[in-house]
């Protein structure tokens, strides 16, 4: 059985480990911050470049490169924002860090802020994380009292304040330009890129870096062990560990930290998560949060990897890193693996997902605002007992008219589930009984 390698969650579930600063300090906390402030900001940046770290929020963009895009010539203040909006369905990793080891995030942020020379940093946390916000605010005050946050940090001439800002229940705030609008006190309508790349025109039209919670924690470990050492964990182009969140129909759902590429989907589901529920068979897996394209149990995935090697995988063979699920035509996204067994009514599952995107579209772009509502209406009608033979084609046509026609990637996020569910389970959509739900002998749950 593959062994977890906990770097980010090293202490999170250790007996006796508490989230207060004294415990953190006893475990070597803020030592890396001390080390960092003896380095030049650009030395930290080059460690992050060497590490190959990719963003853990969903897009997997190289963090060092993102920082490199910062417009330093404008003379405007630079901002650092931690995206703690964690709201991609199937994802619950950042919450573990915030609740169990908040100082690790603060340390990672203060190192990153120093490296990019941000004098003001924010943690944008989703509104439903009442307790998480309280925990972070308390932790920041503890860190401020010890001079790890605030003015002249550790006696240096660098100052940076850190503010926790709560959202209010809108998924779109996880999109970085939507997040920025929200933080500016507006509706979180995502901005169009170009020209509004946050690194150039971000918060208050100033250069801004937005990074995920897990990403910022990694920065601490990169400085601690060096970028080159960090790059040895995982596989080339997929460095470090990832926290995977497994939910749905498995024996042991939960969060598991492994080196990137350190195990396959099969090992994750069968060995780590204890397999499927008794007597069930796999139907489908969504590998990277509900926006990721669904993978069908009996599919074969073949082609050429980036480095030219040919592959021919079953769903169980897919390596869990950034590139594996992508090679299989989906994505690792936020690391949220949702497992569905043969008790699942696939039309209901899509209807559930459609309802999510219909609820969460911000309404700025017409194809998305209108399209997601129609997709929800069609699948809801199907589930209510009025399925029609051509619904599959109708759904596909709506999804295809959203994809690529919106300001932000929400359009794709809403279209991909529909496109992939229909492509892979077309017969189930076309033959969906006119009297509603497929009855199942395995005692399935209602999804709509």
């Amino acid at each position: 059985m593959p062994e977890e390698k906990r770097i980010i969650l090293k202490h999170a579930d250790e007996p006796g480990y508490t989230r207060d600063i004294e415990c953190y300090l006893k475990h070597g906390g803020y030592e890396v911050l001390r080390k960092s402030y003896k380095l030049k900001p650009e030395e930290i940046h080059s460690e992050v470049m060497d590490s190959g770290l990719r963003g853990r929020g969903g897009a997997g963009f190289p963090t060092g490169l993102k920082w490199k895009f910062l417009d330093r010539k404008s003379g405007k203040p630079i901002y650092l924002i931690c995206n703690a909006d964690e709201s991609e369905p199937g994802t619950f990793k950042d919450k573990q860090i915030i609740h169990k080891d908040p100082h690790q995030l603060i340390e990672g942020m203060m190192i990153s802020a120093y490296s990019i020379q941000a004098k003001q940093a924010f943690i944008y946390i989703r509104g439903e994380f009442f307790e998480g916000a309280r925990i972070l605010e308390e932790a920041i005050e503890e860190a401020r009292a010890k001079n790890f946050v605030g003015n002249n940090i550790l006696g240096s001439d660098f100052s940076c304040d850190l503010v926790v800002h709560r959202g209010a229940g809108a998924y779109i705030c996880g999109e970085e330009t939507g997040l920025i609008e929200s933080l500016e006190g507006k509706r979180p309508y995502p901005r169009i890129k170009p020209p509004y790349f946050p690194a150039v025109l971000g918060l208050y039209q100033s250069p801004t870096i937005v990074n995920n919670v897990e990403t910022l924690c990694n920065v601490k470990h990169i400085v601690e062990m060096s970028g080159k050492e960090f790059a040895k964990i995982g596989t080339p182009g997929n460095t470090g560990t990832r926290i995977w969140c497994v939910s749905g129909h498995v024996q042991k759902p939960g969060y598991y930290e492994f080196p990137c590429g350190g195990l396959t989907m099969g090992e994750m589901i069968h060995d780590v998560c204890g397999g499927l529920l008794p007597g069930r068979e796999l139907k489908a897996i969504i590998p990277g949060g509900s926006s990721a394209k669904v993978l069908k149990a009996d599919e074969r995935f073949s082609g050429k990897l980036k480095d030219g090697t040919e592959f021919d995988w079953s769903i169980w063979d897919i390596p869990l890193d950034f590139d594996g699920p992508a090679a299989a035509g989906s994505m690792s996204g936020s690391g949220g693996i949702i497992v569905m067994d043969n008790s699942t009514d696939i039309v209901q599952a899509l209807s559930n997902i459609n309802a999510f995107y219909a609820h969460e579209s911000c309404g700025q772009c017409t194809p998305c605002r209108e399209g997601v509502q129609w997709m929800r209406k069609v699948t809801r009608r199907m589930c209510a007992g009025d399925a029609r033979k051509d619904d599959a084609d109708l759904l596909l046509s709506i999804a295809n008219q959203i994809e690529g026609r919106t300001v932000c990637a929400f359009g794709e996020a809403a279209a991909w589930p529909v496109q992939s569910f229909i492509e892979k389970f077309k017969d189930e959509f076309e033959d969906y009984p006119a009297n509603g739900s497929v009855s199942s002998e395995t005692g399935d749950k209602q999804l709509v």
């Binding site: 439903e128 307790e131 800002h165 959202g167 209010a168 933080l183 208050y204 969460e360 749950k445």
Partner: protein, 166 residues
């Protein structure tokens, strides 16, 4: 502003929190959403007059505040039940029985989905993914999480909630 202040009747504690919050931002407008949260925490919802009050406090037009109030699902424009029950509706919870939990909650609390019970004690609403998918299905009561819910646990939770009812 005086008539508005009178209409709002915010506690000194909330007013102090508001002053401290506004200070935290380089641009005042950023405090709009946090101020709405603070007022809702005290009042249980965002009263109509809060929109103009916040606009004045942050030197904005009321529409700038109104556009936020009407966007975010967590901001409520009428009072919710004293015990605000949020049930996760999204896929991972649904796969583990979230819809059944919601049904049981409605039966046990005598309160329908998206409604507030007649005595003002309970409100039940479906919300989207609460980031607790590994312990699905999940329910929140005010700011408290209840995880791995099944029928028995839901019934027991409802019994507890009714016991502490006014």
């Amino acid at each position: 502003m005086t008539h508005l202040e009178n209409a709002m009747q915010l506690s000194k504690e909330t007013l102090d929190k508001i002053d401290a919050r506004v200070e935290k931002y380089p641009v005042k407008r950023s405090a709009a959403l946090p101020l709405l949260h603070l007022i809702q925490e005290e009042k249980g919802y965002v009263p109509e007059e809060a929109i103009e009050w916040i606009a004045k406090r942050l030197e904005l037009e009321p529409i700038n505040v109104y556009e936020i109030v009407t966007f975010y699902p967590m901001l409520k424009r009428s009072p919710m039940g004293r015990k605000h029950v949020r049930v996760c509706r999204t896929l991972s919870c649904a796969l583990r029985g979230g819809y059944q939990v919601c049904k049981t909650l409605q039966e046990q609390l005598g309160c329908k989905l998206d409604e507030t019970s007649a005595n003002g004690e309970f409100s039940i609403e479906f919300v989207e993914c609460l980031a607790s998918c590994g312990t699905a299905p999940v329910v929140m009561v005010n700011d408290e999480h209840h995880e791995n819910m099944d029928d028995d646990k839901t019934v027991a939770l409802c019994r507890e909630l009714k016991k502490t009812s006014a």
